[in-house]
Amino acid sequence: MIQTNETAAHEHAHTETPRRSFLGWLLGLGTLGTGAVLSIPIVRYLLSPLSAKQPNLWSDVGPMDHFQNLTAPKAQNITVVRRDGWQESRIQQMVYVLPSAPGDTPRVLSSICPHLGCSVSWSDGLFRCPCHGGVFSPRGELKDGPPRRSMDSLQARIMQGRLQVKFEYFRPLLPNKVILG
């Protein structure tokens, strides 16, 4: 392999082309293969938001025995936890737990008025919105006023004797329930 000078190296290299290019292919493939293996952790890292476990979106409402023998909707404060990467925020929200048959999962309504987002309150046997006079039945159905839909129900479940709810925001003013963001 050792040549006497540079020019000779080039001349020789030319005649040696097949061998040199085969080696080149071999090295190229090896480099590509090694690079592919090395890029596995990088790709996993970059794609990690795709495989990230969804944080627990269920909020605790309270033990089920508090909602067993309701005669009227019960207002309940819940804490909604939002995960944003390495940050977490806690937001206080209010929901209404409706009376239910024993053994059933109660219906849970968001207290946010589907009209313009004021908080609906329970008084004199009806849900009333203090801002613009929306009125809803004890089951949350629209009875009167400017709202275009009934009160929004939330997904609820019972886990180990406690009522949990998946709190979500819905777009106001629309005739049907559309999740916001």
Binding site: L46, R90, Q92
Partner: protein, 481 residues
């Protein structure tokens, strides 16, 4: 090449526009006097490690936030939550040590081979600049995780800068961005570590390679510094294969280390911890130990003069050792000098280590610190409570006043937050923060029971609370900032 071959197809199309053949010739046919050798791998090894640091560093920058509030959480998040995050961060952390090791080997090879001779002064000096930049990278990167180790090592490191007579105090203030380590220090170190120094490294690598190609490879120790007259082989394939094998070995060792001994994040920096014993990373320990011996009036000699003279002699080596002789045993003074300095540094490192292990109180404290890191790594990731207006925490909890706390509950239970926002930050209706500075509690109470027409028009009902509860609500509202 004179006998230019006409390429066909897409390769030919590219070749006529880029000149790939010429570029490949420039890159790969560099003549190496005496042929390829294992001893020549360290330069390309360093370049490879630097590129690995750039790639892993980019990955880390995807999550890292340079501020005392978030730095530690984001690094813990990378290590504990993000897929392959711990592995990539470990590669980056071990990579910095690997760079120092290979840098040392590269310098030793150059000194033993006398390959700074023969119009290679600028090549040598650009290398000295690169070495300094690499140490600066290691120093600035060390602070960024903002754990105990990072904080205290950097506190000591910047204090050492403060020891420099005359300008030391100002220099330390400038480095830290203030009298104490804090958010300004992190920003400074971050900008230096991620933008400034890497940019300089790219520039000096280009210069270093340019000077190297201009002077040519020096070849074995028996060769003359210039025009060796030895037969040459091209860089490709012999040296390329050896260099690639070395790079593969480096990344294999680093990957195994990163996989089996992941580099940990320690507990968050706690400047109030007076028991913490700072220890820098291993490559700074000899300097750390050296500084222990120089106190008071002799400090100038030990901290400034001696290191300055050693560094100056080292940088000027190609000007001082000028003969054509390259064999190390015929150049006892420069080679011996470098060996003595290195042995001295190793001795200082050993002295530091033996002092730490012999003193039982130090040894047990260092053990406690290591144990704290292990324990911290075992805990699951704890997300940070987000600031800003979205949370009811923070401000509201500031007060332990039971009136205010009861009032906060009333505020929530009566859905005031629906319009006025959580913690009175504002929503559909006006924010209530700072209302205490605009009116007295008596005025506020009157407004709540008898809202003005403007308020009722906006949807604000009279507050139907009894006097006791009303006072609690007012107390809460007055506390809003």
């Amino acid at each position: 090449m004179n006998n230019k071959k006409q390429h066909a197809g897409f390769y030919g199309w590219l070749e006529r526009r880029i000149g790939i053949d010429q570029m490949m010739h420039e890159a790969l046919d560099e003549p190496i006097p005496g042929g390829a050798r294992l001893a020549y791998v360290f330069g390309s090894g360093l370049l490879f490690l630097f590129l690995s640091q750039v790639i892993t560093g980019l990955a880390l920058a995807l999550y890292y936030v340079p501020s005392t509030d978030h730095a530690h959480t984001t690094v813990a998040y990378i290590s504990k939550v993000v897929a392959a995050g711990e592995f990539l961060r470990s590669l980056h952390a071990y990579g910095s040590s690997a760079i120092i090791v290979v840098l040392l080997l590269h310098v030793l090879q150059t000194v033993f081979y006398g390959s700074y001779k023969g119009r290679r002064e600028l090549l040598w000096i650009s290398g000295c600049v690169l070495a300094t930049l690499m140490f600066a990278m290691a120093f600035t990167g060390y602070l960024l995780p903002w754990d105990q180790k990072a904080y205290f090592a950097t506190a000591v490191g910047t204090n050492i800068v403060g020891e420099v007579p005359g300008i030391g105090g100002k220099l330390e203030l400038l480095m830290r961005g203030g009298p104490a380590l804090g958010t300004l220090t992190i920003s400074r170190f971050f900008v230096a570590h991620v933008l400034l120094i890497p940019g300089m490294i790219f520039a000096f690598v280009a210069l270093h390679v340019f000077f190297f190609r201009k002077a040519g490879a020096a070849g074995p120790i028996s060769a003359k510094p210039r025009n060796s007259g030895l037969p040459t082989t091209p860089f490709y394939p012999g040296q390329v294969i050896i260099d690639m094998a070395f790079a593969l070995a480096l990344i294999a060792v680093l990957s195994l280390l990163a996989h089996f001994f992941p580099f940990p994040v320690g507990p968050r920096a706690n400047p109030a911890d007076s028991t913490y014993l700072p220890r820098p990373e291993w490559y700074y320990i000899p300097v750390f130990q050296w500084l222990k011996y120089w106190e008071g009036s002799r400090a100038f000699l030990g901290v400034v003069l001696i290191p300055a003279v050693i560094v100056l002699l080292f940088v000027l080596l190609p000007f001082l050792d000028r003969g054509a002789e390259r064999r190390p045993w015929r150049r006892p003074i420069p080679v011996g000098g470098v060996v003595i300095v290195l042995l001295g540094l190793a001795g200082l490192g050993w002295a530091s280590h033996s002092q730490d292990t012999k003193d039982p109180s130090i040894a047990s404290q260092l053990h406690r610190q290591d144990e704290a890191v292990v324990q911290y790594m075992k805990q699951p990731f704890k997300p940070e409570e987000s600031g800003g207006g979205a949370t009811a925490t923070g401000e509201a909890k500031e007060s332990a006043n039971p009136m205010v706390q009861a009032g906060e509950k009333l505020y929530q239970d009566n859905l005031c937050s629906a319009c006025h926002g959580v913690a009175g930050k504002g929503g559909i209706a006006a924010p209530l923060s700072g209302i205490g500075s605009r009116m007295s509690s008596q005025q506020l109470q009157t407004l709540l029971t008898n809202p003005t027409p403007k308020m009722t028009g906006g949807g604000m009902p009279p507050v139907p609370l009894k006097d006791g509860q009303l006072k609690q609500l007012v107390a809460y509202l007055m506390s809003l900032k």
